[in-house]
């Protein structure tokens, strides 16, 4: 006999779901559908008239080399930040998982950067790396590096990567630590008795058992770099110098807000949305298949 509360009222379930549905409708479906609609329109600079142009905005976008440049920047940026943020976090989590004194304090301190807003993180690193005043810049100059992220696009990219990575390590650290703690100690002890040295133990036992966590973080990190690094880029480089730090999401803002090309900007949004939907779909399928051993 199934024990479950049954409500006779047919409307109650809808009433209970309503707030969630409303929020999703207002904050996701409505803007998303607006973006899709806008991407089919061309507006004049003053917003007084608009014309329905079908796929012209997309055609226009995909024929411009700077869109591909931005795509390449984003791909490179997300690959580097995701790899660094995950690798460093995994290293730190492996250390924090050991029996060391003061590990609770260590763990707490490592989580703090997550509470810093992206724009603030950007400003923080900007101060440290500012060519004439920054602490780190002085150090670099003293060691013969002509550090200037305002002019040198490689320097600018490194700076943005640093800030974006630093910000994301905490989040990854938390998940990796939880993942490591979920691995039974006896399995690792069994591997130790089976003659596996610590490095081999890590790559043959711990890392494979962490793979659901790793995959989840991979998707979350890519989405983070795609969207949430906007604040960092805006605060640090505003996409410059010479558009070398203009990621896809920053380009949406540049073209739409600053350039006034609402249709083109909307088309870019729709493409970005498609990418994220694709990533999420892959994640769900993968997680369902692999999360339980």
């Amino acid at each position: 006999m199934e024990k479950r509360a049954i409500f006779d009222n047919k409307l109650l379930p809808y009433a209970l779901l309503l707030p969630q549905i409303l929020i999703t409708l207002v904050f996701f479906y409505w803007p998303a559908s607006q973006a899709v609609w806008q991407s089919f329109l061309i507006e004049d600079a003053f917003g007084t008239s608009s014309e329905f142009v079908w796929l012209d905005n997309y055609r226009d976008l995909l024929s411009k080399p700077d869109y591909y440049a931005s795509m390449l920047t984003t791909a490179w940026f997300s690959a580097v930040v995701t790899f660094l943020a995950m690798a460093i976090a995994l290293l730190l989590a492996s250390m924090a998982n050991k029996q060391i004194s003061g590990r609770n304090a260590y763990r707490t301190l490592l989580v703090w950067p997550y509470a810093v807003a992206p724009a603030l993180a950007g400003v923080l690193w900007l101060f440290m790396l500012q060519p004439s005043l920054g602490v780190l810049s002085k150090l670099l100059r003293a060691n013969g590096v002509d550090w200037n992220p305002l002019l040198n696009s490689n320097h600018a990219l490194i700076m943005v990567v640093l800030a974006a990575t630093w910000k994301q390590i905490s989040y990854n650290f938390l998940f990796f630590l939880a993942g490591l703690q979920a691995i039974p100690r006896s399995v690792i002890e069994a591997a130790a008795i089976d003659g596996a040295r610590p490095m081999r133990r890590f790559w043959t036992i711990i890392f494979p058992l962490l793979s659901p966590t790793t995959f989840y973080l991979l998707v979350v990190n890519i989405v983070y770099v795609f969207f949430e690094t906007f604040g960092i880029i805006d605060a640090m480089t505003s996409g410059g110098p010479a558009r070398t730090t203009t990621t896809l999401v920053y380009k949406v803002y540049q073209d739409g807000k600053l350039g006034g090309d609402l249709g083109g900007s909307a088309a870019q949004s729709v493409i970005l949305m498609a990418i994220v939907i694709g990533l999420t779909a892959i994640q769900f399928r993968f997680v369902e298949r692999r999360v339980n051993y």
């Binding site: 006896s186 069994a190 591997a191 008795i193 793979s211």
Partner: protein, 364 residues
């Protein structure tokens, strides 16, 4: 194969908790030794110290000819079967068993031969390709054993490997482990809190209590000549009856209320006036007819029956004797009654010192 020798082994955790207090022990080459004790007695810690999973605070552990205190678990040439099996969940049964050999760079052809042979011994050949999650508890247990035997180590360590199995499977695996040992003759150390497992598996039982070894001996010796009150109570089901009293005459312990119980004075080092615990196993108590019926020719005792446990092959009768709980086991006898009479054979009595709890029996 090798013997294992522990010399004044101690484990003190940071914070001062002494889990193992001065344990000296020899596990002879090829023997099956069971560490038995209640939870928290330090038996698992001791096993993990032998394995190298816990550091040794003081004393030495020797496997074969080598002192292994500072040697990594991997280099000790041991294999361990864990309570939760600790199989590698992402590897097939075959890979689980091959893992230790691959770490030691054994050629794949040899690995295949050894894994297949072990699989045959344990009858797990048909699921070598499966993942651990697709196996039942008993099958996982076999794989864990297989992982140990393919390595052909000097010493097998078992950390309560049967406690996650249901009762029926436990009995079956117990028999298989013993059969396997008879066949491989490998030195084995087995930790359990189950006295039946200890009695049935061991060549040598080590009874532990509060970080110390209480008694070491063959199962039967431990059962028939317990060295202390703790061992007497821990071994045997139902546990030994123990009554506190004073020796008032040679071969007589007086409990309160005028109850006088007999013992064989020649077997014990006990003098008149000494406070002792008088022990007798429930299965050594012989039930007799009520005194009124047999004309009281034999010195017999009687007690009020409190409860009768029917076990099928025999029954356990519980009652009160001079204010203490007293149990006796009978194969036939009454199925229900108010009172029961019994005789005590002086030669089956045990005496323990009232203060130290140590047996007063003469050393043999």
């Amino acid at each position: 194969m090798a013997s294992v020798t522990l010399d004044h082994l101690k484990k003190i955790y940071p914070g001062g908790v002494e889990a193992v207090k001065d344990v000296s022990l020899t596990v002879p080459d090829g023997s099956f030794t069971v560490l038995l004790g209640p939870s928290g007695c330090g038996k698992s810690t001791l096993l993990r110290m032998i394995a190298g999973l816990e550091g040794i605070s003081s004393g030495t552990a020797t496997i074969g000819e080598r002192i292994v205190n500072e040697i990594e678990p991997a280099e000790r040439d041991i294999a361990m079967v864990f309570q939760n099996y600790a199989l590698y969940p992402h590897m097939s049964v075959y890979d689980n068993m091959a893992y230790g050999l691959r770490n030691r760079k054994v050629p794949e052809a040899d690995i295949a031969a050894r894994v297949n042979e072990a699989a045959k011994i344990l009858s797990i050949e048909s699921f070598l390709k499966r993942k651990p999650r697709e196996l039942s508890g008993g099958q996982r247990q076999r794989v864990a054993m297989g992982r140990a035997i393919v390595r052909d180590p000097q010493v097998f360590l078992f950390d309560e490997p049967l406690s996650n199995l249901d009762a029926k499977l436990r009995v079956q695996m117990r028999l298989e482990i013993r059969r396997l040992h008879n066949r491989l003759k490998a030195t084995s150390i087995f930790v359990t809190h189950d006295q039946v497992e200890a009695m049935t598996l061991a060549d040598q039982v080590v009874v532990m209590n509060a970080g110390r070894v209480e008694q070491v001996g063959a199962p039967l010796a431990i059962y028939s000549r317990p060295a202390s009150r703790f061992v007497a109570e821990f071994i045997g089901a139902p546990p030994m009856n123990l009554l506190r009293g004073t020796i008032t005459a040679p071969g007589v312990v007086s409990i309160k209320d005028g109850l006088r119980l007999p013992f064989d004075q020649s077997a014990f080092d006990a003098g008149i006036g000494q406070t002792v615990d008088y022990g007798v196993r429930p299965e050594d108590v012989a039930i007799t007819d009520m005194p009124a019926a047999n004309g009281a020719t034999e010195p017999s005792h009687s007690m009020t029956v409190d409860l009768i446990e029917e076990l099928g092959s025999n029954r356990v009768i519980y009652g009160l004797l001079a204010g203490s709980g007293f149990a006796l086991v009978t194969r036939t006898g009454i199925a229900s009654a108010d009172r029961v009479a019994f005789v005590l054979d002086p030669s089956s009595a045990h005496l323990f010192d009232g203060e130290s709890g140590m047996s007063l029996r003469h050393a043999v």
